[in-house]
Assembly symmetry: C2
DNA sequence: TTGTACGCGTTATCAC
DNA sequence: GTGATAACGCGTACAA
């Protein structure tokens, strides 16, 4: 039997009109409630829509509206569960508005497109706006160029030079309280495994740690700080650098700028026979869902990932509706709160 | 100062043509290499494109092409890191083709849209195709209806009733080998925390476990099987059900159908003072990046999440290019291999 | 209340 | 080689 070649073609408004025996405008009126139409005819139109399985073609629609009811989402990579959670929050805001989300992950493993490529791709769709999580390779120019197509909302990370609306959490406060907690436990030989120095969050967290060091009378300049890339592997690598020294000069606690690196450090410590928290303390930042179930349970700073995303999405839609320019005019959101989660991965420093 | 209201308007081909002093067709020829054009004029056109910052409007383009160079990605939720990895793989395939990916997560926390809503939304964009990870609430009807808009490729999960092309891994083999490994360690009182019984992967894994039970002379019907939902929480809940019995009837090992539930079980066991693997063995399925760094390191079955996604994406694009109908005609992919990762979370059964 | 005609930005067909 | 011109599907003034 010869399966008929599917036409891959859809009913158009014209088809609906013909089927219902009315004109195009009548159909349009019914579909958008944009004009008066007699009850019986309206019924006939809706019936035709059902029978033909008609779905409006968004392409034609956006040609008129000059904007697609679709927003962009740029995230460095999805492998970081924290980012995945933020994205999920944005998606939820979008689907609540019947909008679609187009996803770009320019820094994922095997990355192919530059930031400029991504920007061009998004521009070509005339998206209504974009939510952007900037990463280490993000080109601020490319982000700025996106504002020409609609509002751009930064989330989680910030680009201080650009003055774009951003939804972030209070990284500095969380970091300060975390370091204070560590110090309060009695540690004096502490080391920091920081994030990429060109990232705002990394700068804020480091500043927060140093606030606490200074407040405790510890010279911030004497605390070793190594720069990681927020990935698990660099946590291991840098832990090795920090711990592979004579025991009496070895730090008693590692303050990691995110959970992924903390996990890497934890793993390295275990591999070289160091017990956490007895021999070494390790703390993180983010409070990934997994961190709670690690052994030892990781002491970290909780960030409301899901909320961050959801509110960024809402802010974006508000800007789209309000017709804001995306140049900082739209209502700004105060930093969301962060909260230290005290668990088991740091105790008193080991006795000398 | 009154900031000029941004026009939110872009250069069109007409603008480019005017600026370059040529006709629309010439511009189109240059942009698509679809016709002959003299070198000097081509140069003028490209110059005009640069000056005006022109980006082709995909809406107008798809109106002609009758299809958007955008594909859909439906995933139950992004909170499951395994799904996030699959999605990242698909995204990579898409971006390698200058295509965009629109993301839907209908089962995410606070889910709003039904499967049918999602289908309608995707249809309205005249997407070129869809990659679908089905979940517990997925309506096969809705998935099937998507085939009217273009090829649909299932990934990770399968819908046996629909006979759609799918990229999956060999769940049954992995499960069989995992159970065999557990049995080889000497365990006889084993229990299974399975996945949702309406999911193909859950059925396959259970079948695999039972293959191994039978092969080892253990009556599969006498092994308790509880049905979880693949989330961490149900791992804890079901572990409690299984373990909260007199010690002599308690299972010595918990075979969990995915890592998330295994982690939940691990957490529960620890909370009630059971040591893994000494008092109780726990194994999972998926090999999430985290599982390797848990304490104890989780014995599990590795699935190539990233590859699964990438190949699903490639298969989809092949189908789009080949003009396949998406009704099983397109080239099918053999199940990807799965591999048991023997680590520390299961040892010999505790002495009676 | 309903129908007609035009424009949105792009590509493709046809004359020149 | 190059330039008019007609679709593509939809929304909406404007006319009936």
């Amino acid at each position: 039997m010869t399966d008929e070649q599917p036409r891959r073609t859809w009913a158009t408004m014209k088809d609906v009109a013909r089927h219902a025996g009315v004109s195009l405008s009548t159909v349009s009126y019914v579909l958008n409630d944009s004009g008066p139409v007699a009850a019986p005819r309206r019924e006939r139109v809706l019936e035709a829509v059902r029978v033909l399985g008609y779905t409006p073609n968004e392409a034609g629609r956006s040609l008129k509206r000059r904007a697609m009811s679709t927003v962009g989402m740029v995230v460095p990579e999805l492998s970081n569960p924290y980012f995945a959670l933020v994205v999920e929050g944005v998606e939820r805001a979008a689907s609540g508005r019947d909008a679609l989300l187009v996803l770009c992950a320019p820094e994922a493993e095997g990355a192919t497109g530059s930031a400029e490529t991504v920007a061009r791709l998004l521009r070509s769709r005339r998206l209504s706006g974009v939510v952007y999580i900037t990463g280490t390779t993000t080109d601020p120019e490319a982000v700025a160029s996106l504002t020409s197509l609609g509002p751009v909302v930064l989330v989680d990370e910030q680009l201080p030079a650009l003055n774009l609306p951003a939804v972030v959490s209070d990284n500095r406060k969380g970091a300060r309280e975390m370091a204070a907690h560590v110090l309060a436990r009695g540690h004096t030989r502490v080391a920091v495994i920081g994030g990429p120095s060109n990232l705002w969050t990394a700068q804020q967290r480091l500043a927060g740690y140093r606030d606490a060091f200074a407040a405790a009378g510890l010279d911030p300049q004497r605390v070793p700080v190594l720069e990681g890339d927020y990935r698990e592997r660099s946590g291991s690598v840098l832990a090795r650098k920090l711990l592979d020294v004579p025991a009496d000069r070895r730090p008693t606690v590692l303050i990691c700028a995110n959970d992924l690196m903390a996990i890497g450090a934890l793993d390295y410590a275990r591999n070289v026979g160091l017990t956490v928290p007895d021999d070494l303390g390790v703390v993180g930042f983010d409070d990934l869902p997994f961190s709670r179930v690690l052994t030892p349970r990781l002491t970290t700073v909780r960030q409301p990932a899901h909320d961050l995303g959801r509110r960024a999405g809402e802010l974006l839609f508000a800007a789209i509706d309000g017709g804001s320019t995306g140049n900082g005019i739209m209502e700004t959101v105060p930093p969301l709160d962060t909260e230290v989660q005290i668990r088991d991965s740091v105790g008193a420093p080991p006795p000398v």
